[in-house]
Amino acid sequence: MSALKAFLLHPTVRRAAQITAGSIFLASALPKIADLSAFAGSVHNFHLEPFLPMAATNLLAMTIPWVELVAGLALVAGVRPRAGAFVYVALLAVFTVGVITAMARGLSFDCGCFGKAGAGPIGALKLAENLSMMAVGVIAALERR
């Protein structure tokens, strides 16, 4: 156990996790920013109206990719990377809740997670993908003691 702990807390491992997580967010942010209206369509597909007024979904679509971009840059460049990792995990947690509620309601569509081209259907695979990406973020966010 302590070996695992030492591994997870090792500066090189954490730095690698930060760069990996940052690259994931850069890869997901850029296609969305390039085609905002496609991403807005994906956000509408989630039918968030029980949680959020439909009128606000465009604001969400405008800002999410840029927050991803800034957090991704922070992680990759190592400027306040732990803060970047916190934002990364928090955003992924929100996305995961979105996927779970969509699945629970039987919605079926491409999530637009990595823009139009890299979209995958909502489902168990997408959920597993999100959780493993979150795990990378958690390693990047671990506090060194």
């Binding site: 730095r15 606000a56 465009n58 990719p65 927050v67 306040r80 732990r82």
Partner: protein, 217 residues
Amino acid sequence: MDRWWSDGTETGSRLWQGVVAIAATGCLLGLAQNALVRYGDPKDGLAWKYTPPTLDSLEDIAPSSADGKPGGSNPLPPDMNDPLQIGGSVTAGVPDIPDVSRPIQIQISKVKAFFDAKAGAIIDAREPSEYAEGHIPGALNLPYDEVVTDPERLEKFDPQGKPIIIYCGGGTCELSMNLGFAMVNAGKKKVLVFMGGWPEWATSGYPIAKGATPEGA
């Protein structure tokens, strides 16, 4: 710290400042980008306040000739531009619905117009038990859950060229919207969703039918 990058050791207020800074910077950049595109040339970008497409806003999304579909060169009939001519009136005809690539919301007055003119294929997306308790006369029961497990039901459904009007139990009407998207994905055109659904119809004093068949038992 003697180097410009760190491997992520910030804690406490330094950490939370970073989190807020990243979130705020991202939001501002996003809003700024959209503002630039929206007020730039050519004007593009997202509306600040999203409004789901409704029948009255069809002009905005009617297929253009650029899509290679018919209808672009064919302007909407004048009554489409004046909802008063259609809304609430029983004798005025029904609007001509262009082929659209996603479900469109429709208000009860227009549902009634389609109902009176028998010009729409009305679909009840609720469960058979709810359907039997009461439904719009002539409405076909096509529960969304059954379409998910048996997509052939959707393939077999033929609206005979009429616009499809889907309704369910009201509220956010997820069943209708989901079924609407499923229909569009299955290649159906002219898919309308009546968001008010059964509660609004039943309380409007319009005809209802009970039982398991479209026209009632």
